[in-house]
Subunit: 260 residues, 2 copies
């Protein structure tokens, strides 16, 4: 049937690839739009860690998962299936549009001239989820920088850190550290210390909204003594950020203008 | 009853202020956690435009809204009610943690020494929702900059634009323009043109996911001839961003490393 569909790939039986953001972890933070796409899909493709968070949506579906199937393979397979007329949901934790699969899907669809519908379903990204758990760290201009140098030259990462550190952005650091990659977070700290007070608040959130969530409030000077892992997002405050009642708060500037 | 509670404000009848992100507009993109907080609340406070998007949640509730009640007043009122033992939901469009009310709530709670629980419920922010509608513009390091100089000096805004333009960040511009404030977006364009190709893709999304949504793909050179308003988010691509199939795509860098 799938083959038959592929041969007559007109509008009515064109396959669809939903690229679905399931949010930070808890199903409470996954949108109805994401749930709907998972329900509509015939086949669900994803990294095991993320599929384990949505067991109810996998029942009665074909599920393609593997610890070993890397993102390029998952993406290729999903596009192949959608090209054959299937409805496929490619699952991403967080938001597919932020350091996740949305871009790769379009890159590969172009490369292989894939004829299928592609729909991106946004999710609560780590940057949003972690901010909410910390208080209100992102209330002013902010930047997201990934420290992974797998796909980005370290020189460019350093240049970007310098830029946002010097212009007083709140910064959310993605992929701060892995077992093998431990130097970049030290480099990031050094760069920020050139421009910001060592007492600048830093928040570290690991596995936000999941059962094993941890939240740490520390400072720029002390951040390296805290546990930081693959699942952590590190938020570095700007020059105005402070801690109140165990919450990290970046003021927006109202107090200079209004009576609060 | 509320007064009685306020006098004996122990753990059991402590008020709670939920700061609720309802997402970009369509209820499909509002999380169950947000819906739950709205249901638990006795009183719902918010700007009319956002409350109009969630009519089903207002039935049987006390609703405080006003076109004229400014954010500082809404926030003060919400904290007052929560201090008196009530369950209050303060509604924000998008994500309360991104250019919205979460920060002001903590600032004012501190100022008035408010004794209540404060819970931030994250939402799909404009930056996530607009990115999904455009394709995958944010796939690499990105920054969010607000052009509103109501609470931020223009010099700092310019400094930040220079920083992120020169370090090749994808940039999401919030509050690009209002009826009275039309100069900043020209300044932003000028700054980006110093560092980026005039053909750099720019996406403009207005009222993302709502009935009156508009999506425009243009370039850095032509962006000012497009309609940009209060409800618009402007996404400026980095040096690698391109348009494919009417989608704005920033490659993550896989193609240099893997066979796609």
């Amino acid at each position: 049937m799938a083959e038959h569909k592929a041969k007559h790939n007109n509008g009515s039986n064109r396959g669809t690839l939903y690229v679905v953001g399931t949010g930070p972890g808890s199903l409470k933070h996954m949108t109805p739009a994401a749930g709907e796409a998972l329900e509509k899909a015939d086949i669900i493709v994803g990294y095991k860690t993320y599929l384990d968070l949505i067991p109810g949506y996998l029942e009665g579906k074909e599920v393609l998962t593997s610890q070993m199937m890397k993102e390029v393979d998952r993406c290729r397979k999903s596009l192949e299936l959608a090209r054959n007329g299937q409805k496929v949901a490619l699952v991403c934790g967080g938001d597919p549009g932020i350091y996740a699969m949305a871009g790769l899907v379009f890159e590969m669809a172009e490369e292989h001239d894939s004829d299928c519908n592609i729909e991106i379903i946004p999710g609560i990204a780590a940057v949003n989820g972690c901010a909410a758990r910390l208080g209100a760290p992102l209330m002013h201009d902010f930047a997201a920088v990934s420290l992974s140098d797998l796909l980005t030259p370290l020189e460019l990462i350093k240049k970007r850190l310098e830029a946002v550190a010097s212009a007083d952005f709140v910064v959310a650091i993605y992929n701060p550290k892995s077992k093998k990659r431990t130097e970049q977070i030290k480099i990031a700290q050094e760069i920020f210390l050139k421009y910001r007070d060592p007492k600048t608040p830093v928040g570290i959130v690991t596995a936000a909204t999941r059962d094993n969530e941890t939240i740490t409030l520390t400072t720029l000077a002390d951040m390296l003594s805290c546990e930081i892992g693959m699942q952590s997002t590190v938020m570095i405050g700007n020059s105005q950020t402070y801690i109140w009642n165990e919450k990290m708060v970046t003021p927006r500037g109202y107090s200079g203008k209004y009576k609060l």
